[in-house]
Symmetry: C2
Subunit: 475 residues, 2 copies
């Protein structure tokens, strides 16, 4: 198989939704043209990448026609008006099947949109198709689902990572400019890290989860995948808002940038406490971060003490909650699960109740610890992953001289921010051996908007004054 | 052994704290005299009943001297001023050992009072001694602890019930007029039901649990044991208040009665859905309730559908939470537990995490169900227990023709109100074969004060106009 990138990307490769919006409004582009571009890119690339599991071509074109007519009539729904978006296949859509990546739901057609999808429609987006999820989002490799594996656009023998495999691959390869993903242990950040896109996991409960199939209810998040923090912020503005507020109507759209008053105080988290890492990967990301933030990075210590307990806590919480969701399916129809997912679920049944409660206490302690850390800094920086994309179906990897499980390795740096519910984002940070690596930026509770705003300001500065390093554009 | 009641009660048998307060203030009594009366009653009765595990005679007399001096100087702390109170031995006291009924804490001396004890001291109460708890409050029979079994004052070959065994026996036998107990599945209501006292479990989180050894954190409650709802209300007023409010200072004391504007709408819960019951016991309580509430009782159906799931949910939650508290002790020093308590804990380790989460969902559903029920009625009535006190160490009982476990039988009617966190009270409802039986009254969330107020109004009416039935006075 041939890699798609960097030589034959889709039409939206690196595209800015902000720029597309300007061209839509000055008559250089139409939503129908954008939708055709997306459909043609999908037609060309998807047979290789397997990002889309369903494409609603007719429906998308119909939405685009309406979007163009509305804009012509002066009805502008905001920055997402007329922009094609793909939706991870564990998020309900009233007009497309939603399989959750599982044979259990091979024929499933929801009656209603998830609230976040409804909000995107209200914001004018063209909901174009469904992108592959690891079965029930229960796996960070993106290569086990009813529809098989998504392929990494930089090397199609490699995994995208998961579970938002298709959403990340679709944006990274340029098939669409925007997608929604979900993230329970890293499932937005991991595949955007391995494929080279921006992936934002908002703070816990900042974007409502109604209509999204649960994996682990106290860890699940939904968020945007895009080519820039600026574009991710547009999606975030459309889908965030407490679920109680006006849940069925359109959301007031706020695209005003929140100007940062000072350069963010940042610190770099040493990752050795989190597990084995490829030093070339971490050094590449560190150097990118120094350049991007234009300051030497103070190194934050002290995670050695908390991490071992945290990994155990994370596992106990996620497993117990996941098995609670699936216990009847495991009992009644085990054969419908992918064998690896089934094995993981069966193991998940074994977590004890007291261990779950114990883990919830450890989680409270970590949240308090992080609140104290964020008294001193605005943003924490670290790699999103300690390695580049492993091969499809690879399950063990040599990392810093150790043989470690691929699943543990790819989750090692992201899951702490699900446990704490803190906003965290992956941004492309260059490449190692032709494969993308990503910088993870974490902010304090409630600082989602500030995180996005500081990053889009830095993006503008970096792109306006490129420091001679193509990595800054994720290229 | 000789039964203490009805022939040789302690000095506070049936005493009203409201009346004692009047006599304290008109010079007929002193706190020192009350404290001496309690100490003498304990000296005489406790060797038979084993309610007190520690008595602080000197300290109590010193507190009483100060209380008398304060009153003489016009410093009146309110209705509990100068009144002797005993404290269940799982509640911390800075001036007395607190063993939690366990050899693990045989020598334990807390440094601080529990918040509820501190509030009682601020309200002027004389904190006189510690009363026996089933080991770690993990048992409803009151006959397994570091200090052995408490004995039922009506028949000392029978159990008091537990886990607030000593507090209930101390008040029921007249050693003290007031006590604090705790209630996780019925531990205040069960022993007051079997011994013949008023026992009030407030709504969840209405009285803070700081300084009380946890059994099951989402089910634990602390509340008063007294001779009347009126007296229980005085203690409740002193100890209730959110823990965040002025946690170290004295609480504003509010003894104003909340006048009910109309007769409460009441309904009787048919208990057959909850398990086996002695029909003589339930009929006696039903007749008492009709007389006490002066109305025919509508029977509420529909618990058949919810109860089986609830029992399972209750067990899963309590066991998982209890084991989380004790897992290190079970691993490190199992020999220090009573064998029966140890066996129960070891079984508790087996609850699965997903079962715990599942149970929490069932609990939410029951809470919603009860909220709907309380749209139609003010108070729900049912027996507190389906039987009279079994023999000490008895572990199986014939009930309605079935052999059932004593533990399940005594918990069968109370634990649903821990699961739902609703305020619930036991009031004496007469006797069957010379042993007390109790009526349980349950109110809606947040209606603690109204529940107590309606009951004290009915108590006044019943006692002012006795219907020729001594049961109404709990005699």
């Amino acid at each position: 198989m041939t890699p798609v990138l960097p030589h034959s990307p889709g039409d939206f490769f690196g595209a800015s939704v902000v720029e597309l919006g300007q061209r839509l409004r000055n008559g250089q582009l139409t939503s129908v043209a954008l939708t055709h571009a997306a459909l043609e890119s999908i037609e060309r690339l998807n047979p290789v990448i397997n990002a889309f599991v369903h494409v609603n071509a007719e429906g998308a074109l119909a939405q685009a026609v309406l979007a163009d007519a509305a804009l012509a009539a002066g009805q502008d729904a905001g920055p997402l008006h007329g922009i094609p978006v793909s939706i991870k296949d564990n998020i309900d859509t009233f007009d497309m099947p939603t399989t959750y990546g599982s044979a259990h739901f091979a024929e499933h057609q929801p009656l209603e949109d998830a609230l976040c999808v409804r909000r995107l429609r209200d914001a004018g987006a063209v909901i174009l198709g469904k992108t592959l999820t690891h079965e029930f989002a229960y796996g960070p490799t993106g290569d086990r689902s009813l529809q098989g594996a998504s392929k990494n656009p930089w090397d199609t023998t490699r995994m995208t990572g998961g579970s938002s495999a298709g959403s990340a691959a679709a944006v990274a390869s340029g098939m669409v400019p925007l997608a929604l993903g979900t993230d329970t242990g890293g499932s937005i950040r991991i595949p955007t890290g391995l494929c080279g896109a921006v992936g934002f996991k908002p703070g816990f409960d900042v974007v409502p989860m109604q209509g999204i199939f649960p994996l682990s209810k106290t860890l699940d998040h939904v968020g945007p995948i895009a080519n820039s923090a600026e574009d991710a912020a547009l999606v975030f503005a459309a889908i965030s808002a407490p679920s109680g507020l006006n849940p069925l109507g359109s959301q007031p759209f706020n695209a005003q940038p929140f100007k940062s008053e000072h350069a963010p105080r940042v610190a770099w988290i040493d990752v050795h406490a989190f597990g084995a890492a490829d030093p070339v990967v971490t050094q590449t990301i560190y150097r990118f971060a120094e350049t991007f933030f234009k300051q030497p990075l103070e190194r934050l210590q002290g995670f050695d003490r908390v991490m071992p307990g945290l990994r155990k806590a994370m596992a106990a919480i996620q497993r117990a909650e996941a098995y609670e969701v699936h216990n009847e399916r495991v009992a009644d129809n085990p054969q419908l699960f992918d064998p690896e997912v089934l094995e993981r679920l069966q193991m998940s049944a074994e977590v004890r109740g007291w261990e779950y409660i114990h883990a919830m206490k450890a989680r409270d302690a970590l949240m308090a610890h992080m609140a104290a850390v964020f008294e001193e800094v605005d943003l924490l920086l670290m790699p999103t992953l300690p390695l580049t994309a492993p091969a499809l179906e690879q399950r063990e990897v040599k990392l810093g001289g150790e043989a470690v499980s691929v699943r543990e390795a790819v989750l090692s740096l992201t899951s702490a921010w699900n446990l704490t519910g803190l906003p965290a984002i992956n941004i492309p940070a260059g490449q190692v051996n032709g494969l993308p690596v990503g910088l993870q930026v974490v902010a304090a509770k409630g600082r989602d908007v500030q995180l996005l705003d500081q990053l889009r300001e830095l993006e503008r500065q970096a792109w306006r004054h490129p420091p001679g390093d193509a990595r800054l554009r994720g290229e």
